[in-house]
Symmetry: C2
Subunit: 197 residues, 2 copies
């Protein structure tokens, strides 16, 4: 169940350039348990990986339409001229699309954990813009990352419901929701004060 | 649609003792828009307020059973003797139960916004234990607060499903999920580094 890593600029999954999460694997397992994540959830996402592969770009387009409609969200994509930096948006997009498929397929190991730290950092002054050599604001405030979760969870139901209903739809929605919340929880790490995350 | 404030120790909603959120009401509206919160969601929760009134305590008991089963979660309830502080747990519980009903009924105004800041602070060294004069650890780390959301959202479906199905069940699940995520986003504020939340 491997995807090719080629042709996505800045997609450094598993590379030595990626940040290292301060979390141990044991602490990750505790966090998975907290969110209710189980092997059954991982299997559910993998069982439906074709939905994600087929629709990941549409899903990202749908979420970006939500962002574009809200001045307080789209402004983090603005360049110094005060308008949307189309090159920044274009460079980020394939990684966002790939993230969708990764959520459904990646094993939660050290490489995966470290890459969530990297993604978090890329929304903060430590690494935003650095990967893509652009000049948008150097932060997406944490509150917008957290508050965007329902857009990505509830907003995915129409894609899932093209193929599933009843209990199987619930299973996929639940596995997806747990996975997304787990990712966002890890992305919040660089935003938190020392020893408070 | 008012609930009595009496008889819940430390439930200071609307009182001058409550912290003040640094967020403006305009910024709150932007955050609501981000989470996808609408008047229709508020109406959905209010339409089903009897579910919350009737089952709030059962819901909290169910979530607490999840906490009790995980050493990395229950330890934040421990007293200096290294065992669960039953008095702390007993004092916090009625406020937690009341929070469930408040989510379904409270208008998102300045008093509500400030109380979310207060709840956030009560999970951090600034105010944890202070309200109840207990000696549990002075923090619940942010990652456990964030990761617990699916327990509270997915875990509520069985309660909702006793009364609802189909589209009406979806509407209530979605409104509840958005509301919970909005609350937790506000609670994250005191954990974040200056200007990063």
């Amino acid at each position: 169940m491997r995807e090719a890593n080629v042709n996505i600029a800045g997609y450094d999954y598993g590379q030595p350039s990626v940040a290292r999460s301060p979390l141990s694997i044991e602490e990750l397992r505790e966090l998975e348990q907290t969110v209710g994540w189980s092997d059954a959830d991982a299997e559910t996402l993998r069982r439906h990986v074709d939905i994600f592969r087929r629709h990941a770009e549409e899903m990202v387009d749908a979420w970006r339409a939500v962002i574009a409609a809200q001045p307080h969200l789209i402004k983090w994509f603005f360049g110094p001229d005060g308008s949307r930096d189309a090159e920044y948006a274009a460079k980020v997009k394939p990684r966002f699309v790939r993230w969708v498929v990764d959520v459904a397929t990646r094993t939660h190991d050290r490489a995966w954990l470290d890459y969530q730290e990297e993604i978090g950092l890329r929304h903060t002054p430590a690494k935003k813009n650095v990967t893509d050599h652009r000049h948008t604001p150097d932060l997406v405030p944490l509150r917008y990352i957290l508050a965007f979760v329902p857009v990505v969870t509830i907003g995915s139901r129409p894609f899932f419901a093209r193929y599933l209903d009843g209990e199987e739809l619930h299973q996929l929605e639940d596995a997806w929701s747990k996975a997304v919340q787990l990712h966002v929880t890890l992305w919040a790490r660089p935003y938190a004060r020392e020893a408070m995350w």
